[in-house]
Symmetry: C2
Subunit: 260 residues, 2 copies
């Protein structure tokens, strides 16, 4: 028998909203069985950059991480956001342990090669150490990952949190029956982006291609869904997308991803 494992990714917009974060953490703390949280950055990093007089640099919705930006995201993601979430989970008697990919050598990555755009210290994941993470789970800890990895040579790297969540889910699937939850501010993938109730209940590879062609799925949702299908293809048992009610056993309205 394989143990079940839940990997939950929580988006930046939920983290930035104190009340939503608190409701989310209530639900996450109550989730049964071994579990892992992955959190995005939220807009705090941009606020701190501005306060420090460092202009935020974006390119096609992605952050350009130069050296001083990396310092700030390390402070905000690895320090402020991660430790605040850990302390709040501990208050809910959930034995959280906050990690970057450097901690316990959990996630190794390489600096993204420069093609058209130089993303700076942005990391693409090479390897997740399933054994290290398993040690923590078996000891009863709940790993809480921020969106930082390392290259094994001392360099921290800013890494997409959706990708971290899917790569962790894939690596842990060699040992656990994993479910990957992407929680964000919407109830799921929407058929009409102006109607929050128009959730598409199931998307598979072929309906995905169709929705993409019609322009119904676009922009930031595309890489998110690519991550989902990649995870399913690599033996992640279940992948779903929704808002914070996704973690409730009676949740009804969310998007479930299927390969076929």
């Amino acid at each position: 028998m394989q143990f079940e494992l839940s990997i939950v990714k929580i988006g930046g917009n939920v983290i930035g909203d104190k009340e939503q974060l608190s409701s989310f953490l209530d639900r996450f703390a109550q989730l049964m069985g071994p579990k892992i949280l992955v959190h995005g950055g939220g807009n705090k990093a941009t606020q701190v950059l501005k306060k420090m007089g460092i202009p935020p640099k974006m390119e096609g919705g992605r952050r350009i991480t130069d050296r001083e930006t990396l310092e700030v995201v390390t402070m905000v993601y690895g320090g402020l956001t991660n430790k605040t979430i850990v302390a709040q989970l501990q208050a809910r008697r959930c034995n959280a342990i906050g990690l970057s990919g450097a901690d316990a050598n959990a996630i190794r990555a390489h600096k993204r090669p420069v093609k058209d755009i130089d993303y700076g210290f942005a990391g693409d994941v090479d390897e997740v150490d399933e054994k290290s993470i398993s040690h923590l789970l078996v000891s009863g800890f709940v790993p809480v990952f921020c969106a930082l990895t390392h290259n094994g040579e001392g360099q921290l790297l800013n890494t997409n949190a959706d990708t971290i969540a899917s790569e962790i889910a894939i690596a842990m699937s060699s040992k656990y029956k994993t479910t990957l939850y992407y929680c964000f501010e919407k109830k799921g993938v929407l058929l009409d982006r102006n109607d929050d109730q128009s959730v598409i209940k199931t998307i598979n590879r072929s309906t995905y291609m169709d929705l993409r062609e019609k322009g119904i799925i676009s922009d930031g949702m595309l890489p998110k869904l690519e991550n989902c299908f990649h995870a399913l293809q690599k033996n992640v048992h279940k992948v779903c997308i929704g808002d914070i009610s996704l973690l409730e056993s009676e949740a009804e309205l969310f998007t479930s991803l299927k390969l076929y």
Copy 2:
């Protein structure tokens, strides 16, 4: 037979000096057996406070941690400094895992009661979870603590790193034969503060009282030595103070603390 455990506290001035930090981490990575690192803050927090337009507030050499200062020290200690050290230890094949006292519920504290001075979100340690830390050591991890604790109700607290080191050493002494190393920029406790070679090789309770009366030991060295004697009294096996060469087996010039 009891296993030996080394707890090393590294001061802010060493952390602030890139070359010294690198030499220290070389030595720490090579230290045999289970080990724990505790790091102070350095002056980076003050730099970031100034850049963000927050005036650093000090009182008798101690930081007053108001709400916005706590945000900054959480970013700098728990994020930038901690993750940088962890990544650099990983590059030395030392399986570091960075922690605040909230992570793994490792160090519980309470907010210092307001007497003459309101220190704000400053924490006094109540309890170190020896079991949590042992789990990490047994799994082969090297815990790296920053100077933050939590109150178990969701509040992070800024806590003196010397005290964190001695409290961890005391708690771990129930299971391990512990040695506590305080590494800073001097070769030990000096008889003449203008002569770096005038290291007092051994200090016990009675010579300490004498040195204190004569004003040879004063200021910041007093609470450091109080921490040392407190640790010895609570079954920590060995306590020494020196510079980064303290970790070498052939180290000769340092201060060794004894009860009698």
